[in-house]
Amino acid sequence: MFSGQWLTEEELPKNIDTSSLKQHPGIIKGRCQRCGNRKRYKLARFPHAACGKKCLYCRNCIQMGRITECQPLYQMPSSHQLPQRDTLAWRGTLTSHQQHASDNITETILQNDTLLVHAVCGAGKTEMIFSGIEQALEDGKRVCIATPRADVVRELHPRLEKAFPGIPVACLYGGHSEQKTYTPIVLSTTHQLFRYKQAFDVLIIDEVDAFPYHNDPSLQWATQKAARKQSSIIYLTATPRKQQKHLPKVFVPVRYHGHPLPVPAFHLAPRIKTKLPDFPPSKRQLLLFAPTITRATEIAEELRIPVVHSESPDREEIILGFRKKEIHTLVTTTILERGVTFPSVDVYVIDAGHEVFDEAALVQIAGRAGRSADDPFGDVRFYMEGKTDAIIEARHSINSMNKRGGEL
């Protein structure tokens, strides 16, 4: 139960003897021991009835329950895991590029090292980590696959269960965060890692450059904390940021089906912020990306089509409906920019010059198209009032990846 987690008194299972557990204060030297926050404006004092003092508490991770300086965090003892052989049921073949990256990952896991895997959108990152996970399970190591996006967690879960049929996989994301039993594989959003400390031997972080992970130091702190002292950390991304450049790196420049990435076409639409351009009818399913939730809702109302964003209550059903092809055109915000795979779609970005579409976001969005081997092409259009640096750099980076892929 709760193996490897550090919990507050309220979160502990009812009938447990706290005196036998390792514990330390919730806040040490002005740093929250769960989320690593030490920003002054995210720490505050309150008159605490339990200790009678003006007690310091953390406001950063308050949604998970309050951490105070006077109440301890308890460590749940970690279970031991037996080595398991031949756990991988996935029998697909990897391309030579995937194989190269996969070998690198396995080697990194054996050496307890760190590795950044830079693979273009649709390179088949998930398949590349399978043999590394199998190796880890064989050594009796506990594996965590974490990603900033809950949608990515939901998509990966069935794929992992299929690949490792005999291995229980815990799936943790906001609202589904209770881990009942010990599992050798944990699939989780990076936020859920706050509760773990020195729990994993192998930590695979998918989409490291995604919001909110890349600009939230407390999430980065949490992942470092969740890994054991002797452990390997593998970062996967299609668009590495500058601060990740110093890591040992392996690059996969080609998609698994060998076709180049769709290059975005630029369409000038002078009044794109208020008025929709005339779209040509699309034969494939169509994803429309809008910069903000308000704009997405407006477009959805105008075209009478469904919309999905971070605050939609029926987000999962709509995405499922799109996946089952019950929905032809879907409006969305950047929440669907990465990690999710729809086999054959066209992608139009409305107001690509908006500041939320940075280079990484645009490359990722363009990477939603042409992901299946049956239909490796897709129409990617950026509708904009004018080119921004991000738009130019995104196209430049797609072109240069295609070029590097073509040379190999």
């Binding site: 404006y41 995210k42 309150f46 339990a50 007690c55 508490y57 308050i62």
Partner: protein, 210 residues
């Protein structure tokens, strides 16, 4: 400056009013401020915004002379209260200073929590509001432990025995402070006990009006 609720940076707007005078400290960003909706008109007795004249509830008379509330208990307010009261983010209460009056008459008495609930929550939310009002808190009432009010219907609330009792002698005009006025049964029960024990008058002040 950072917004107390969403932590986004607040850009101070410079105009004649704050070039010449020290600006009133802004605790919430524009977006979060727009989430709250201020009550401008309501029942004069209980501040119920669905009525403009005395509502049927108040016509029946009550132990509480008057209740004043400041904000609608809308979805944004519900999230705010959940984080403040149930998650225990005490500091959020500072953001209410913009909605509260500078001065209210009466001896401020917080609606108490039972011992168990106080230990669980860590603080009394009514006392926090009194602190923001800039008044002295008079801890005159005690409360026996019952289930949470927010899980019950109006009828169930009214049928329950009065959980309040006085801890200290009561006199004068009382300002009873709580966070949310829903059916008013908590406030009325507390007011009843105060009046039976010597209060001259009891008025209510609540942040939110459901």
């Amino acid at each position: 400056m950072r917004c107390l609720y969403c932590f986004n940076a607040i850009q101070p707007v410079i105009g004649w009013s704050n070039v010449l005078l020290p600006a009133r400290e802004v605790k919430l960003c524009e977006d979060c401020r727009l989430g709250f909706l201020e009550i401008t008109e309501g029942c004069p007795g209980c501040c119920n915004p669905r009525y403009t004249s005395t509502c049927p509830d108040c016509q029946n008379g009550s132990s509480l002379e008057q209740n004043i509330s400041f904000l609608y208990y809308n979805d944004f307010a519900k999230d705010w209260v959940a984080r403040w009261k149930y998650r225990g983010d005490y500091a959020l209460v500072e953001s209410m200073s913009a909605y509260l009056p500078y001065f209210v008459r009466g001896k401020a008495v917080p609606v108490p929590l039972s011992e168990e609930r106080l230990l669980e929550r860590g603080f009394n939310q009514s006392e926090a509001i009194i602190r923001i009002l800039g008044k002295q808190s008079h801890d005159l009432l005690g409360r026996t432990h019952t289930d949470k009010q927010s899980k019950k219907s109006k009828y169930e609330r009214q049928q329950e025995p009065n959980p309040f009792y006085v801890k200290a002698p009561v006199k004068g005009d009382i300002l009873l402070v709580d966070d949310i006025y829903t059916t008013g049964s908590t406030m009325k029960k507390a007011a009843r006990v105060l009046k039976d024990n010597g209060a001259a008058s009891v008025k209510g002040l609540t942040l939110f009006r459901a």
